[in-house]
């Protein structure tokens, strides 16, 4: 009896260690490279959004393989921005590895706060032989990794110095209630009222009609409880990005190709006016909404559609948070002259003041590796930055599953290459502020769209001229 028990235990532990062996095999380069850095502690700071939160769950594995201790901080976006800015400006070197969003990367790189990665990549002792830089989606590397970006050759050129490896691939996509848009009774009523078929809106005019159609009182108590659409109209960074889906599609731009301020055009005014005109089809609290509240409105079935960051997909399918599990569909945001789904995302970068740059570099590679990116995706987070993850058969299977959050991936792929980007200039934080304060005035009615646009353009010119 005892012999069988012992034999059984031996076999079971052998199987476990096989799994460990396989794992160790994958990460043998990391274990080897980390040998001189065992026992070091590195401090990392990330945004408390889905991709980083999921990655944090895997951090103990990194610690086990490398013997490097990781202090991971996940905080809301504005706090990441403030904490990293202050740390870098003061040169205190509190953070070794940081989550750096594309626009902020420009400011930091220009100021010389980030470590250029080339010399680390060239060092085979601390670099993954399977790093495969070409596997990163070029658009993502351009957006979050390289500085100065070639703003004219928007998506193809990756010239410039590499300061970060892309970590998450963000885009604003149209989240819509598939069940409502495909419902036969709704389709019949819509056709009768508007004269064309109810379908996923391709143009902003169709979006407007559908929003109007669905804003209604569903339980007959005299109060509107379903709203056709939702936006993010709080006087906040969220509004700048979200509104750009609309007025960029109308042809508005912040800068033209020669990097002159081109905000004050009729197209921007038209786009802004259209954006404001949709407000009556939105929940009344929309002027206090950022991406979180808009996500809640969609997940609670309060709004039928709206542009939202793709990383909110898992929330839509989480029964603890959502009343519309499996009912949300994804598409690229509508067009007027052209489609302009907003792009975003961030990279993992190393602080120039870090005292453990090599150890931080190991972490950066690990977090953006094919393996970890794939596992983040398989946990339901549709933000992979690597082409190999998109092509992976397991991921592809989930993408075809109508119940999985990864069903969003085809829309994300469609958006890639046509995304609109916030200008990658160091002055972006101020430009951002100027835009959302003026837009907030226009939404509240204290300025007309024309006044808001020209006031914003004047301010931005002043900022850029300094």
């Amino acid at each position: 009896m005892k012999k069988f028990l012992v034999a059984g235990l031996v076999i079971v532990s052998f199987c476990f260690s096989l799994g460990d062996l396989a794992n160790a095999q994958k990460w043998s380069w990391l274990a080897e490279a980390a040998k001189p850095y065992r026992g070091i502690t590195i401090h990392c700071i990330h945004e408390s959004s889905q991709p980083s939160m999921i990655m944090s769950e895997f951090v103990p594995e990194f610690e086990k393989i490398t013997g490097i201790k990781v202090e991971m901080e996940t905080v809301p976006w504005t706090d990441v921005y403030k904490k990293t800015s202050l740390d870098l400006a003061a040169g205190t070197g509190v953070y070794d590895e940081m989550y750096v969003e594309g626009e902020i990367r420009s400011a930091f790189a220009e100021a010389g706060y980030l470590e250029p990665l080339d010399k680390y990549i060239a060092n085979p002792k601390i670099t993954d032989p399977n790093l495969d830089l070409a596997d990163f989606i070029p658009e993502c590397i351009w957006a979050t990794g390289v500085y100065p970006p070639d703003t004219r050759n928007e998506f193809r050129s990756t010239k410039g110095t590499l300061y970060a490896l892309s970590f998450d691939n963000a885009a604003m996509l149209l989240f819509y209630r598939k069940d409502l848009l495909e419902d036969p009774t709704e389709k019949a009523k819509f056709k009768a009222e508007y004269g064309y078929d109810l379908a996923v809106p391709v143009t902003w005019d169709q979006y407007r009609d559908i929003a109007e159609f669905f804003t209604r009182d569903t339980d007959g108590d005299g109060r509107t409880d379903l709203y056709g659409c939702v936006a993010q109209m709080k006087r906040h960074d969220a509004m700048t990005c979200e509104s750009m889906n609309y007025w960029y599609a109308f042809g508005g731009r912040i800068f033209d190709d020669a990097m002159n301020v081109a905000l004050d055009s009729l197209k921007t005014v038209e786009g802004l006016r259209f954006y404001i005109s949709l407000k009556k089809f939105m929940p009344p609290g929309v002027t206090t909404y950022t991406w979180d509240e808009a996500g809640i409105a969609l997940a609670q079935g309060l709004a039928v559609m709206g542009p939202e960051w793709n990383e909110f997909a898992p929330v839509m399918d989480d029964p603890a948070k959502s009343k519309v599990v499996g009912k949300i569909g994804y598409a690229i945001t509508p067009k007027k002259i052209a489609h302009a789904p907003m792009g975003g995302g961030a990279g993992a970068a190393i602080s120039r003041f870090s005292k453990n740059k090599e150890a931080a570099w190991l972490f950066v590679q690990w977090a953006t590796s094919k393996e970890i990116q794939k596992r983040i995706a398989l946990k339901g987070c549709p933000t992979p930055v690597r082409l190999s993850v998109f092509m992976d058969p397991e991921v592809a299977k989930e993408a075809a599953n109508p119940q999985s959050p990864l069903r969003q991936l085809p829309a994300l792929l469609k958006a890639s290459g046509i995304r609109a980007w916030r200008p990658r200039v160091p002055e972006w934080p101020q430009i951002n502020e100027i835009i959302f304060t003026n837009w907030s005035d226009a939404i509240a009615g204290t300025k007309t769209p024309e006044e808001a646009v020209s006031a914003a353009a004047k301010e931005i010119r002043r900022v850029m001229g300094e």
Binding site: G285, P429, S440, D441, I443
Partner: protein
């Protein structure tokens, strides 16, 4: 002889740690702000030279539309909040001069709002004001049929909604101090006046108020300075509000310093705030000593 010398230096020795802390926390930062306010300094753009601008930074105040707006907002917020808090506090204090049952218990309940951290108060009221799920919106709907209104998101209501939160939190402060003052009034003048045939209103106007004057002025000063500086509650409730309707000077200063990282102009704004508050103190000082 040696012992005598030591005694002379002993007081300074005792003061030394406190002076050190004072220097570190107050005097040095103040000096640094003065330095910053006359230079151009962008924290995130170290390549822009930190040149001496002298008075130019201050001149910018006059052309800054947002600054003028914040002054209007801050002054209105302070005036309205303090006035309402004073009236509510005084009213409650007068009620409690009569013998109220379970006085201690009721007073402790009334003081509760003061004990709540301003950020918590902001979050609490923010939830209640929430247009879709907030309890205030719910009752507005059921009791008054007012739908589709977002109290914090609407330009017309956001400011007053914030004032209400401030009044809720700080009226108790006025209340306890005024109550203490009322309870410590000497009896003699009142008896004398009553013998002379004074009415309740005359008693209040000619005896209570004059005797209370120092306490009233102090409590108004403290509250005015605090209301002027209000940051946490407003930041959490509206972040500056729909279309800058709740953007006070402290919020604006924070924004210029920690979002734009424009340290030069930010220091100027901080100085303005300081000067205004010192102005209040001087003014009240004159009133009290009269």
């Amino acid at each position: 002889m040696g012992k005598f010398k030591e005694q002379r230096y002993l007081p300074y020795l005792f003061l030394f740690p406190t002076l050190l802390v004072l220097l570190w926390i107050t005097i040095f930062p103040f000096g640094y702000i003065l330095y910053l306010s006359v230079h151009r300094y962008y924290l995130l753009k170290p390549w822009v030279p930190r040149i001496f601008l002298g008075v130019k930074n201050f001149v910018e105040l006059f052309t800054d539309e947002m600054f003028k707006n914040t002054i209007v907002v801050t002054v209105s917020f302070t005036l309205i909040s303090v006035a309402v808090e004073f009236l509510v506090g005084l009213g409650l204090a007068l009620i409690f001069t009569l013998n109220v049952k379970a006085e201690r218990l009721i007073i402790s309940l009334l003081i509760a709002p003061m004990v709540v951290a301003p950020v918590a108060a902001g979050l609490l009221w923010g939830s209640m004001y929430n247009a879709e799920f907030g309890i205030i919106s719910y009752f507005l709907d059921r009791l008054f049929g007012v739908t589709g209104i977002s109290l914090l998101g609407d330009v017309k209501t956001a400011f007053l909604s914030c004032v209400i939160v401030d009044v809720w939190q700080w009226s108790p402060f006025m209340f306890i101090i005024l109550l203490a003052g009322l309870k410590s009034l000497p009896n003699a003048p009142f008896e004398a006046a009553r013998i002379d045939g004074a009415s309740t209103l005359q008693l209040f106007r000619y005896i209570t108020l004059p005797i209370l004057k120092p306490i009233i002025l102090v409590v108004l000063l403290i509250r005015t300075i605090d209301a002027f500086k209000t940051f946490d509650t407003l930041y959490v409730l509206t972040g500056g509000g729909p279309a800058s309707t709740t953007e006070t000077l402290s919020l604006y200063t924070y924004r210029v310093n920690f979002t734009y990282f424009n340290m030069g102009y930010g220091a100027v704004l901080a100085l303005v705030l300081l000067i205004i508050i010192i102005g209040f103190c001087v003014m009240f000082n004159k009133l009290v000593s009269r």
